[in-house]
Structure formats: structure tokens, C-alpha cells
Symmetry: C2
Subunit: 264 residues, 2 copies
């Protein structure tokens, strides 16, 4: 029997770093005696765990500037491990009770389930499918600026898949709702987990039937068509670029590169 | 102001049918006085609603033989409407309490949200992303028989996307876990909502690196490689076909047709 184990060091939902700029690890003795432990998997022969934050911890769940900075410095494997761990310990912290009966739930199956102590209903971690899409009209790309975003920040439109929709239907509905643009010929490009708190981002591409934008001002501050040259200059960080594009950790960055290469 | 409205007739979670074999509709007066009503959308100038089943209703949530028969007879638009309605009223019925604090929740925003009456946390309908995949090795296709399925029933392997995974990573992990097969070159084919209770099925394709199957007997009763001729004969319902393939309402049926055409 091998008892080697290590505990991911978290401060609330933020990771702690070691001197080398990697994720910091402690031992199981570092966890509170009554802490719920989630099994993250085996790494280098050691069982890796993360502790669910104590009740009452109300750390922010969305990505924030501090987290964006961290994401820019973490190695890809550390970022994937931290993202998965954060998403699941946050899910536990926000699901201490049973949605079916209101009873207390407890951690089960190494942290990949919670079970109601009253009615025995089983609850599983949630992942929300989100579409994010490049919409093109005669060589120009539709990008939007969200409410509260910095003045020059533009990215691909995005939205949650609603019950009863396919990915393709969700793309067309979201684009129509947010911009008044009719999207057709929807295709899939790539996907990425986004654990803030628990999205599955599905990158798509579509052709616009029209180009007159009718903005939904409850969703977007602005939406505009950009030429390939404008997108390329912005991705390149040129001084005269018309906008700031998403950072490289975001799937939107990958999608914009895909589009530039498609039209290279 | 237009007060025209109609209520989808449900018996538990099963639809009621009119004499023409379409979904049956009543008026809002048919709903219990304290029933929670979900707004489904406008149809022919009438607001369409469905009522959340009363507390204590424990109708089965999964697809059952009666439902499969119904799905074979309903028109596509009726099936889509019923599927969406069923998925969301079922979600309401199973989320009467707040997972964050255990307090009672109440319906909000026309049925597309529940809000905790105690801590004000907002809850949204859940959609679980599921991968379902065709895995090919040198012209043969990997199909499996689930535990408890009829002896001759085979379909594409499938599984939920776990927190922290992309679609492509989920496909590779699921295939490896269930069959011991290493899948590479994962691509996306098509998606379909599956409202029993609330899945988003994402159909994918992959190439197998090996063909020796190591069955996970906790997940599958069997898994086998089938030639194109065997799949074609089975989809055609030939007397000497080696298996029964999924019915046309299932995305697996569409995927198998896609594969037959790919190798036509």
C-alpha cells in the first residue's frame, strides 16, 4: 500500500505558488480535520487532493484580474490541474444542500458526487455548455464588446446553450438575439473547458446573411464588423490597431488565429 | 393586449395527445391554482405554457419504452417542443430547494430561473454535455452494448464530459475507459438535445490506434468491431444482420448513416 498523497494549496479559490512559480502542494495534514477532500488523480505516484473551502467562504467565482495574471504565468499542465480542481471544489462549496428536498448533502465517490443525507438523491458536478462564435460576412468578422468591458476590448459573441437546443441552434439564436444578424452554415471549430465556474466553451463558425447590426444593449455595449487586416493588426498588438483582442488563454484568441489562417 | 394563451397537457412528464396524434393543449384554467408556469414561447400568436408537476410527483425521468413509441409518432416540431418543455418542467420539479443554503426556491423569469427565497441565489436550468462517438479501425467501427440492453442492441459509446475536459479529451478518455482503445484525431460531426432529462449529445468521430478491446464490465455488456457491410445490413434491418441499431430519433442513428455515407 502506498500512502503518498499531497494537497493542493488554495487560498479560498486562488492557488498558492511555490518559489519556482508552480502550483504549491502540502500534505493532507494541512487540511482542516473536517474538510471534504476531492481526489484529483495520481501524479508522479502520489494521490493528489484538494480541500473544499469551509462553509461561509464567499470567494469570487468568476475570473478576475488577479486570476488572468496568474493564468498568463502558470505552465499549461498546472493551469489545467488548477482549473479542474477549482471548478470541482467550488461546485462542492455551492452544493452543500439537496435541490430536491433541502437536506444536507455529503461528499461521495472521492469528490465526484454529493449524496443527500436525507433523501439519498445523487448530485453530480455541473458543466454548462457555452457556444462562442465567429460570424463572417463577405470577409469581415463580427465581434462584440460586453457590458462593462474596457473601451477597446472586443471578442467573439458567446452564450449558454439553452434546454432543447443543439449547438448549431444555440449559435444561430444567440447571434440573432445579440446582434440581429442571421447566421447560417454553422460549423464547429474547437472546444475548451473554462472552469470559472464550470463552462465548456464550444467554438463555432458561421456565415452571416445580413450585415446590419441591431444591438441588444442589455447584453452588449457594442458590436462591429472587422476586416482581416484589422483583426491581424489587433492580434499583433500594433499601435494603430482598432481594438484589443482576447488574451492567449481564452479560446477566442485561438478562434481568431484560426480565422486569420483560414484567410491567409 | 393579447391574452391568448394555451397550456401543454402533460400527465406527469408524459404528453397527452389529441385525436390527430398531435400534442394536446388546454387553457391556463386547466392548471392547478398554485401551479408554477413555464413560458415556452409564442406559437401562432398564442403564449404557450407548461405547468411544473406538483410536489411529490416521481415520474420516471429517463426515456422509457412508452416514450420511445411516442417519439416515433410525433411530428418533429411537436417532438422538439415537448422535449424542451419536459426537460425544463422536470428541472423545476427537482430543484424546489437551494443547493447553496437549503432554502425554498421559487420560479422566476418565466420559468428560465429559480431564485432562493432565503439567500437570493439564482439557479438556472442545467444541460449536461455528453460525447457520443464513432471509433474506426481499418474500416471497422467500434460499437457497444450497454448493461441491461437487449441482446442484439449495439450503439456508439458515449459518456458525460467531466469538469476540466474539452470535448476531444472527453472522447479519448471515455473510449479508453470503456474499451481500452486509444482514440486519436477526434473530430466533431453533429449535436442533438436529448431532454431525458437534459443532455446535449455531441456526436464525434475518431481513429483507433489499436483494436484489442479491454471491456469495462461495469459500463458495458459487450463491445465489438463491425464492418461497413454489417452496419449497413443492420441499419437496413436485414434478416441476417448481426445487430439492432438505434432508432431514428437517436443521434447515434444519424451518426451511423453519416459513417455509411463517408465510406460509400
Amino acid at each position: 500500500m502506498n500512502w503518498k498523497a499531497r494537497l493542493l494549496k488554495l487560498s479560498g479559490l486562488m492557488p498558492e505558488m511555490d518559489d519556482a512559480g508552480s502550483l504549491a502542494w502540502g500534505t493532507l495534514a494541512d487540511a482542516a480535520e473536517d474538510a471534504e477532500l476531492v481526489f484529483l488523480g495520481l501524479d508522479e505516484g502520489k494521490a493528489c487532493f484538494a480541500a473544499v473551502p469551509p462553509e461561509g467562504d464567499s470567494s469570487p467565482r468568476m475570473a478576475n484580474p488577479q486570476l488572468w495574471s496568474l493564468m498568463a504565468t502558470l505552465r499549461a499542465d498546472d493551469l489545467a490541474l488548477y482549473g479542474g480542481a477549482r471548478s470541482i471544489v467550488d461546485w462542492h462549496a455551492r452544493h452543500r444542500f439537496c435541490a430536491a428536498c433541502g437536506g444536507a448533502t455529503k461528499i461521495a465517490k472521492g469528490g465526484w458526487q454529493r449524496t443527500c443525507t436525507s433523501c439519498s438523491t445523487e448530485h453530480f458536478p455541473r458543466t454548462d455548455p457555452v457556444t462562442i462564435m465567429l460570424v463572417e460576412h463577405e470577409g469581415r468578422l463580427l465581434l462584440g464588446r460586453g457590458l462593462g468591458w474596457p473601451e477597446r476590448a472586443y471578442s467573439a459573441l458567446a452564450g449558454f446553450v439553452e434546454p432543447g437546443e443543439s449547438i448549431e441552434e444555440a449559435v444561430a439564436r444567440e447571434v440573432l438575439e445579440e446582434s440581429g444578424i442571421v447566421a447560417k452554415e454553422v460549423g464547429y471549430i474547437a472546444s475548451q473547458p473554462w472552469p470559472f465556474p464550470s463552462q465548456l466553451m464550444m467554438g463555432c463558425y458561421a456565415i452571416a446573411e445580413n450585415d446590419e447590426i441591431t444591438l441588444d444593449t442589455t447584453e452588449l455595449a457594442d458590436a462591429r464588423w472587422f476586416t482581416r487586416d484589422e483583426v491581424a493588426a489587433s492580434m499583433n498588438g500594433d499601435a494603430d490597431a482598432p481594438m484589443n483582442t482576447p488574451p492567449k488563454q481564452a479560446i477566442a484568441h485561438h478562434l481568431l488565429n484560426w480565422w486569420l489562417e483560414k484567410h491567409a
